[in-house]
Amino acid sequence: MKQENTIMENQNFRPLDLKKKMRLGESVIQTLLFLAGFLSIFITVAIVYVLGKEAWLFFGNPDVTFAKFLGTTEWSPGIGKFGIWPLVTSTLTTSFIAMLVSLPFGLAAALYLSEYASPKARSALKPILEILAGIPTVVYGYFALLFMTPLLQFIFGEGVQVYNMLSAGIVMGIMILPLISSMSEDALSSVPRALREGSYAMGATKIETSLQVVLPAALSGIGAALIIGISRAVGETMIVAVAAGAGPNFTFNPFLAAETMTGHIARISGGDLSYNSIDYTSLFAIALMLFLVTLVLNLISQGIINRFRQRYE
């Protein structure tokens, strides 16, 4: 009896009051969330600032002109050669090879996992792919140098240099493969079941359904995976530093050694550099270039996602 009374009293404890109240927890959380968001933006801006500042010094050097930077094909800042292209072509070549490996195989793996694999096969295969994603890139680098290169030399003969873009690109593709496959698989599995059923009900076979209905419906997600994969390839450093070569070389021939933008930055910054030397500031110009390439690719991926989002809802 006593207890019941207290409950009744408690229920009637608060009189009607519709005035605004302070909710301290709410404001604290809001502030914390804002700070977290702000921090990431701040760091991005800070990176751009530092890159821009040092690159500014580079382009401020009387010997450097944009015409030379973008119009010549030899990079050796120490002796007044400022053509960025040998580094860019190497980055593009290795990245292109990497995508040539990772896109078809990653997509095939994703299609298999989402459309064909039995739950058992899927639960066995996914962890293996994730292990592939967890291998340190330096290990991949030596895998390229010590396994892939000899293999390529065996296949293509002596034309393949010890350091070469093909081997680095292929191994980079293997490294990116799990990223492509897991993102594409997410995109494929999130295609509504109703679409698959609609397709089967039309008398479509499994392969027709997978390739002509599910795949197009997942295209935006797969496009995003592609772009992120490219960004990853462009930014990858260790594999190319170990296996692609240690000197700028203006060529698209994948059998030859050629240093990428990232590989070059890694090598030069490991050496003895004095601040304000042209070598030092040139690194920031390369980094800025890399940053721009990656930024543009990310913007494109964002654009694709926005354009196609929920088109099949």
């Binding site: 739950p119 509504p192 109703a194 679409l195 698959r196 059923e197 609609g198 397709s199 089967y200 009900a201 039309m202 008398g203 479509a204 076979t205 027709e208 002509q212 209905v213 197009p216 419906a217 088109r311 099949y312 809802e313």
Partner: protein, 262 residues
């Protein structure tokens, strides 16, 4: 009954039971679905109406661990027989779903695609127009055929789904609550359309809207859970729609159609 005589029924089930693993979802269904008529399957939620419908074009195949016992005969052939290709079954038995599910393609391609994978070699433009006319959608979309199907309204999308189904010229069209996600006007259009379609097709429709069943169907199958508490659904009464709604034999049917139950 001899099964290889010329069948006057488009689908015939014999002691059809449908299982999900050990769970018997539908038990012992014996139905004769007459050609070029509309047969409605009604009953309370969860009694296996959709499961039964989906057994008619082997859509339950995609549910792991599902299987059937008994027979579903189409043209004298058991569609669950050993040498039957489910893809061929579905080419003859089209399906319209509860929620419109057009493909992420243009309006034109939504229709052309199914015809193409089914080996259609004729004049595609003509087929698309015919199918859209058949689904009473042509006038509304003839100028926007290349637009995405997702730009259509829900009711238009559902008629597009009907159009793509008739484009592959099936014998039977299954409809799983085709109007339940639509507004009343779109619903009315679909019902009118069904009356047109039955001139050429056999239609089986699942609905939980009894007025709809009474309005559109020629025959009605009343489904209900078994009385033994096993959670299996079965057909408790099957006859002309008129009889089901005016003079049901089973007390449970009477209670259901008069709104005293369900």
């Amino acid at each position: 009954m001899e099964t290889n005589e010329i069948p006057q029924y488009s689908i015939e089930t014999k002691d059809l039971s449908i299982f999900y693993g050990t769970f018997k979802a539908v038990s012992d269904v014996n139905l004769l679905i007459e050609k070029q008529k509309i047969t409605a399957i009604i009953g309370p939620s969860g009694c296996g109406k959709s499961t039964l419908l989906r057994a008619f074009n082997r859509m339950n195949d995609f549910v792991p661990s599902s299987y059937v016992t008994g027979k579903v005969l189409m043209g004298g052939q058991n569609m669950y027989g050993a040498n039957i290709d489910p893809v061929e079954v579905r080419r003859k038995i089209g399906m319209v779903f509860q929620k419109p599910n057009p493909f992420p393609k243009s309006i034109y391609e939504n229709i052309a695609w199914g015809a193409r994978i089914n080996g259609f070699k004729g004049n595609m433009d003509e087929l698309v127009e015919q199918s859209l006319r058949g689904a009473a959608l042509w006038e509304e979309v003839k100028d926007v055929l290349q637009k995405s199907a997702y730009e259509l309204s829900g009711g238009q999308q559902q008629r597009l789904c009907i159009a793509r189904t008739i484009a592959i010229q099936p014998d039977i069209i299954l409809m799983d609550e085709p109007a339940s996600a639509l507004d009343p006007i779109s619903t009315l259009r679909i019902e009118e359309l069904m009356q047109e379609l039955k001139k050429n097709y056999t239609i089986i429709i699942v609905t939980h809207n009894m007025q709809q069943a009474a309005r559109v169907s020629d025959y009605t199958a009343m489904m209900m859970l078994e009385k033994d508490g096993s959670r299996s659904g079965t057909v408790i009464e099957f006859s002309e729609t008129k009889k089901i709604f005016t003079n049901p034999k089973d007390k449970r049917t009477e209670d259901y159609v008069t709104g005293r139950f369900g």
